[in-house]
Amino acid sequence: MLSLTREVGEKIVIGDDVIVTVISVSANGRVRLGIEAPKQIRIDREEVLDRIRIENLESANATPEITVDAAAWASYGARRANAKAKPPSS
């Protein structure tokens, strides 16, 4: 991994169009970064994105199995389709 030392206000340029700026560093070690990048590039917190990635993968893997439970899904769907206009059941 490339490691660079930067001070507050200094920037790092990645490729032609990604710029990372160190905005602030707090006493408790929190670093605030500003990122400028083209909009097709995802910029997310790693732990949040990982949780969504894993959930997407597991959901995709489980989806073919709905055919096994097709009758249950059909009746659940039918009940919800008709219940939509009714007040919520207690």
């Binding site: 969504i52 959930e55 997407n56 206009a85």
Partner: protein, 155 residues
């Protein structure tokens, strides 16, 4: 109020995810298909028309998800879509927005969940879509990645 049959507003639409779908490389084009005989109107299939790649795995030809419009099953559902998303998807009015959530089917069905934390936001005018990744936690949003499906005594 007239009797409304549940309906997923974007059924039949082609969706384009400029940034792909988290977890899958190359998953940019999808179609929303009705699920005939399987919760039609409440559920739909979100099928990818690209060959996609998953880390440490062989290319995937048939990626699809079970989805629903969150408002059908969770009437109180709302999510604050941030400015970046509004700009990226070229959303100019509330009427442009449609949402889908991915269901994680489990057995039994009553154990199934849906990702209400991170809905798929769609510009229904253009078909531009993206999975929203909030910048705040599930607790702050009030909806979980694995929200149980609403059940009643018949489920």
């Amino acid at each position: 109020m007239p009797t409304a049959t549940a309906q997923i507003p974007v059924t039949g639409m082609e969706l384009k995810f400029h940034r792909g779908l988290p977890g899958f490389k190359g998953a940019n084009h999808f179609v929303v298909e009705p699920l005939e005989g399987l919760g039609e109107g409440v559920f739909a299939r979100l099928r990818c028309t690209d060959t996609v790649y998953v880390k440490n795995s062989t290319p995937l030809e048939n990626l699809s998800f079970l989805v629903t419009s969150p408002g059908i099953l969770w009437r109180e559902y709302s999510v604050h879509v941030d400015e970046t998303m509004v700009e990226d998807l070229d959303l100019t009015s509330v009427d442009d927005i449609a949402m889908l959530v991915i269901i994680h089917p489990r057995r039994p069905l009553s154990a199934s969940t849906a990702n209400l934390y991170s809905p798929i936001v769609i510009n229904r005018r253009t078909g531009l879509a993206d999975q929203f990744v909030p910048s705040v936690t599930e607790q702050e949003v009030g909806w979980s990645v694995a929200t149980p499906l609403p059940l009643d005594r018949d489920d």
